[in-house]
């Protein structure tokens, strides 16, 4: 679902589905915590919880809580307890079935990578809003990183997709491999921020979205029209 003008919209139901799946575990967990001192707090939180986003433009480095092997949580009785950190990595349930690692991993220098590149993040995001896209297929320009016979001098070439690609690169490891990136829990926080930028952009430019009609203006003849993809 990349290099297509539906990159942002396709990922939106994907995120919603993941969020829905996570939330489906909440009733049992709330039940488990019911009698402890944090029971009510947790029950209330479960009512309003939504998938969090990682605003890497404001906060380019990942906190320790995302990678430490153990974290401190409130246990069912309401007391603080140590728990293995599911956010650090995802362990594949049946690693023997395929030829690969038993768990997801990130580049050992992920935070250094992010810091070294962090100077780019704010300008990338800001430029999406400050330089309106050209008249020629504006949604195509902003949505995905393909470039075909388009004026390189029209301004910046960043798109929701190209900016998003960098975070995959800098976090590295599983996130750098397109076939398995979504197994790293951080994928979901990253894509939630991509969805947020998409939502903010649509609010800022309400007249521009995936086109409703085929037009011949600016269409590269070599491109195929796909009305169904994948």
């Amino acid at each position: 679902m990349i290099l297509v003008n539906t990159f942002p919209s396709w990922h939106r139901p994907y995120l919603a589905l993941y969020e829905q799946q996570l939330a489906s575990y909440f009733p049992d967990i709330v039940q488990l915590y019911q009698k402890g001192s944090r029971g009510e707090q947790l029950a209330n939180a479960a009512q309003v919880w939504r998938l969090p986003y990682w605003d890497w433009a404001l906060y380019p480095t990942m906190p320790d809580e995302w990678s430490s092997s153990e974290i401190k949580i409130y246990g069912p009785d309401g007391n603080i307890t140590s728990f293995h950190n599911p956010f650090a990595a995802y362990k594949f349930p049946h690693p023997n079935l395929f030829d690969g690692p038993s768990a997801t991993s990130r580049d050992t220098r992920a935070n250094e990578n992010l810091t070294a590149n962090s100077r780019q993040f704010k300008p990338w995001v800001h430029e999406l809003f400050n330089t309106p896209p050209p008249q020629n297929d504006p949604w195509g320009q902003i949505s995905n990183s393909a470039w075909e016979n388009v004026d390189m001098d029209q301004g910046h070439l960043s798109s929701f997709e190209s900016i998003h690609d960098h975070i995959h690169d800098f976090v590295g490891g599983t996130m750098r491999d397109i076939t398995v990136a979504a197994f790293d829990p951080i994928f979901w926080l990253h894509h939630c921020n991509v969805d947020r930028i998409f939502a903010l952009w649509c609010a800022a430019f309400p007249d521009i979205y995936v086109p409703t009609e085929k037009t011949s203006e600016g269409i590269n003849d070599k491109m195929t029209f796909n009305e169904r993809h994948l």
Partner: protein
């Protein structure tokens, strides 16, 4: 034309909304489809259309605009005051506090003194249930500490004001699969012989500016991903931008006039690496194209918010470099 061109009612398989129908882009345009919003949109209040747009644009300026990345400031300056001072600029350049983006006196060999002591303004923490709490404040990234033999003299009174601000960017395009999968084109500012040979050392080099990253399958033809195969066979190109402005500022190079052009021409270089962090010689990437451009801010008539433009190409900066455009009119 960009990317595969789908219409708004095209199915977003495999996500379905009923037994018989898939979700379309039109269906999920609004986040209210799934019952959510984001803090910045909620904070704008019960507005829509132009009012919502203005509110979001102002918020984005405040969170991510140039005023948040330049030097140390004792107070945020919103883009509106950039507009105000552009109107005053026709009289004479006015030095104002705190609207003046004064860069602290800066020595590239490590020490610097800040004549305006005070905590750097931290970005506002996002509020709302979607926010991540307890994350460390934004670190704008390492300032190059310079290196021996580097011919960059520190300027004593280097300043960037709204009137002298100009954005500098490098635009990059190449074939998506030219790097054999994921990879990057990395940019450096400084003497070429100081660029580390090992891509693993690029990010920590004081010369490092930023990269254009490619996110691609390393085996497009045999992977079973028909999109990937199709894109590879069509030699699909991808593109992006590396921002040079903040690095020019940290090198204390004026953003207007000939000096940035000469400086970039001498000192801007780039290299390529693949997903295994192996160097790829740029000669083996014939599809690579790099263009450097700059633009100032313009206040549209009747507008309150400056926008970027028009863009000027600087072929001198890229001439003779791998994939660099040589002339003003070259594609």
């Amino acid at each position: 034309m960009k990317g595969i061109y789908n219409l708004r009612d095209a199915s977003l398989e495999p996500f379905s909304k009923s037994q018989s129908d898939y979700i379309t882009s039109g269906d999920c345009y609004s986040t209210s489809t799934y019952g959510y919003t984001y803090p910045e949109i909620a904070a704008a209040g019960p507005v829509s259309g132009r009012q919502l747009s203005d509110a979001i644009l102002q918020t984005v300026d405040r969170l991510y605009g140039p005023s948040t990345t330049i030097g140390e400031r004792s107070e945020d300056v919103p883009m509106e005051s950039l507009a105000g001072s552009m109107q005053a600029a026709s009289l004479k350049p006015v030095e104002k506090e705190p609207g003046d983006w004064h860069i602290p006196e800066f020595h590239l060999f490590g020490e610097h003194k800040n004549p305006h002591p005070g905590p750097p303004s931290a970005p506002p923490r996002p509020s709302g249930v979607q926010a991540i709490e307890n994350v460390p404040p934004h670190n704008p990234g390492p300032v190059p500490s310079g290196s021996q033999g580097s011919a960059i003299p520190p300027h004593r009174d280097y300043k960037v004001t709204p009137e002298t601000y100009r954005k500098w960017i490098a635009n990059i395009t190449l074939e998506k699969y030219a790097l054999g999968g994921s990879g990057r084109i990395a940019f450096f500012l400084g003497p070429e012989n100081e660029i580390p040979a090992d891509p693993k050392e690029w990010y920590t080099s004081p010369l490092y500016v930023g990269s254009f990253s490619v996110f691609a399958h390393h085996n497009p033809t045999d992977s079973g991903c028909s999109n990937c195969k199709d894109q590879a066979e069509r030699h699909l190109r991808v593109g992006g931008t590396v921002h040079l402005t903040d690095t020019l500022i940290s090198h204390q190079i004026p953003l207007q006039g000939d000096e940035p052009i000469e400086y970039l021409s001498k000192n801007l270089h780039w290299r390529a690496a693949n997903f295994k962090d192996e160097n790829i010689p740029t000669e083996s990437i014939p599809s690579l194209k790099v263009v450097v451009q700059s633009a100032g801010f313009n206040l549209p008539p009747g507008g309150v918010r400056p926008v970027t433009g028009p863009w000027t190409r600087h072929a001198l900066v890229t001439r003779g470099k791998p994939g660099g455009v040589n002339h003003a009119n070259e594609f």
